[in-house]
């Protein structure tokens, strides 16, 4: 039972991550390599605030979101004013830098040892620590994030994103401030990734930098590209398929030591095959190519 709850909780958290990345990849046409960095920023800010400063969860959560959104400007403001592929390169660099900071700023982040004994969130004095409680807590949070994403993507903001994705020049001649709209989209995606990070940190109660690496960012991109970008369904399918795959492979009986590497190879092969034969992913609408 706890095994199942664990998988479902992780899926709920990753649904937020994949959907946040979909705002960029599927709706704005921006390939970002730093989603795991903002996921990590959310996790660390909340964990540090609660363990060191002892602030309540509902202060730590917005603090984590705001920190991620503000830091997102470091990437988006310089890179989105430039043209072409600078954005991908900048997110790539940001991802590496964030990892280095988490790994080396020992006094703040604990370095490779990470942060231990992260307290469970409390809602009106009720501590959410049993696996079933935390699962429902994540489910509600994911639901709220989905509602928020749906509202913004069906709004004029979402339509402006789609217009930019199709034709930036035309959008500009219709008076759209393309850079500004992209900066907003990137901030929203980063804030949502931070929510996922917060949920993750207080779920596992111990975090270290290895959860927020470049391969993790690539894994998130794989979820969106394999599941499909540009609608709500694609990333949901991608999340479920890619998170269940290791569980299924486990039952196939791969040798323990080789399993993680074989998994990486399967992800890579899948990504190449999908890009080649089905660029819109399993259930997506937008061909990122």
């Amino acid at each position: 039972m706890n095994y199942l709850l664990n998988i479902l909780t992780i899926i709920a958290i990753y649904l937020i991550l994949s959907q946040s990345l979909n705002i960029l990849v599927g709706y704005t046409g921006l390939l970002s390599m730093s989603q795991a960095a903002f996921y990590g920023i959310g996790a660390y800010v909340s964990a540090i605030l609660m363990t060191v400063a002892g602030v309540p969860f509902f202060v730590a959560l917005p603090a984590a979101i705001i920190t991620a959104m503000v830091l997102s400007l470091l990437v988006s403001v310089p890179s989105l004013r430039l043209k072409g592929d600078y954005f991908i390169l900048t997110t790539f660099a940001f991802q590496l830098i964030v990892f280095e900071i988490l790994y080396n700023w020992r006094s703040l982040t604990g370095g490779p040892d990470g942060i231990k004994r992260i307290p469970s969130p409390a809602v009106f004095g009720f501590v959410i620590d049993a696996p079933i409680e935390y699962f429902f807590f994540c489910l509600i949070a994911t639901g709220l994030c989905f509602l928020f994403i749906r509202i913004i993507l069906t709004s004029p903001f979402g339509q402006a994103l789609k217009a930019i994705r199709e034709d930036e020049i035309a959008a500009q001649t219709l008076g759209k401030n393309v850079a500004k709209i992209k900066i907003k989209a990137f901030a929203a995606a980063s804030g949502l990734a931070a929510v996922a990070g917060v949920l993750f940190a207080h779920y596992v109660t111990y975090i270290d930098p290895t959860s927020f690496t470049l391969p993790e960012s690539i894994f998130l991109l794989s979820i969106v590209l394999i599941g499909g970008a540009g609608n709500i369904l694609g990333p949901i399918v991608g999340t479920v398929v890619l998170l269940l795959m290791p569980e299924i492979l486990r039952f196939v009986g791969l040798p323990e030591t080789a399993a993680p590497n074989i998994r990486q190879m399967i992800y890579g092969a899948l990504l190449v095959l999908f890009m080649y034969f089905r660029p819109q992913g399993i259930a997506g609408e937008y061909k990122f190519r």
Partner: protein
């Protein structure tokens, strides 16, 4: 410069690497006037329009619109001032419907915020309602007899041009930059566009047209600017053009230069 909605270019120069695309070009367009820009391929017509709409920055020279210097403004800022551009390769949003294209064109920047989406949906609804009303007026004006809900990619070539025109008109653009508005259109559609340009001029718009179809441009324009090798070689009333200049010679001269 003290006329409303008047537009002028002053000594615009632009080169790409060593190639001079536009050299010291100046002219003005007034309200209720159509200026046609003609010239052989490579004479700098589209470069000039790109400079006017802000996609290219001139190396030298200044651009004025409605009494303000707009030389340094970004494309979206110029669009916000009422400069509307019709592209040679039509740029409507294929995946969106006709209505969605029209709504997108009319939205103000404040309507496209995240916080607005979350907290001000009644306001957005009201603005959208007004825009839908406005959309019907302009689709009717250009004579686009299609369903609002059909996807733009299902329109014919001519209909796409009409949609693109309706989009900039619904934005209340005052200065219209029309890059080859009748290229690839049949005679009936050409007549229609010609009629629309005259109607728009009479309603007070300031219009610049680029076109290779010379019969069309002489019919549509009040004044003609002839570019050759990036320079303005002639400017004068469209009606007097033929008596003052031999167009074949002008075009031939440019080929001789190459």
């Amino acid at each position: 410069m003290n006329k409303k909605n008047a537009f002028s270019l002053q000594s615009i120069t632009k080169s790409f690497g060593g190639l001079i695309a536009v050299k010291d070009v100046s002219f003005a367009v007034n309200e209720k006037e159509v200026v046609g820009i003609i010239g052989p391929n490579g004479s700098g017509k589209t470069t000039l329009l790109d400079i006017v709409s802000g996609f290219l920055k001139p190396d030298a020279g200044r651009i004025f619109y409605d009494e303000a210097d707009i030389t340094r403004l970004a494309p979206h800022q110029r669009a916000g001032l009422g400069i509307g551009r019709l592209f040679q390769d039509i740029r409507v949003f294929n995946k969106l419907t006709v209505l969605e294209n029209m709504l997108l064109a009319q939205r103000e920047n404040q309507e496209e915020g995240i916080l607005t989406a979350v907290f001000a949906s009644p306001w957005i609804k009201r603005k959208t309602g007004e825009a839908v009303y406005n959309t019907r007026y302009w689709l009717d004006f250009v004579g686009l007899e299609v369903k609002e809900n059909s996807a733009a990619e299902n329109l014919s070539y001519g209909q796409e041009k009409l949609l693109a025109l309706a989009m900039i008109l619904a934005r209340n653009s005052q200065l219209l930059l029309l890059d080859e508005p009748v290229a690839g259109l049949d005679l009936r559609m050409k007549e229609k566009i010609l009629g629309l340009i005259k109607k728009l001029r009479d309603s007070g718009k300031t219009i610049i047209v680029i076109e290779h179809a010379l019969d069309f441009i002489f019919d549509a324009s009040d004044r003609i600017v002839l570019l050759n090798g990036g320079r303005k070689v002639y400017e004068g009333a469209a009606s007097k053009f033929h008596s003052e200049i031999n167009i074949k010679e002008a075009y031939a001269a440019s080929y001789a230069q190459i």
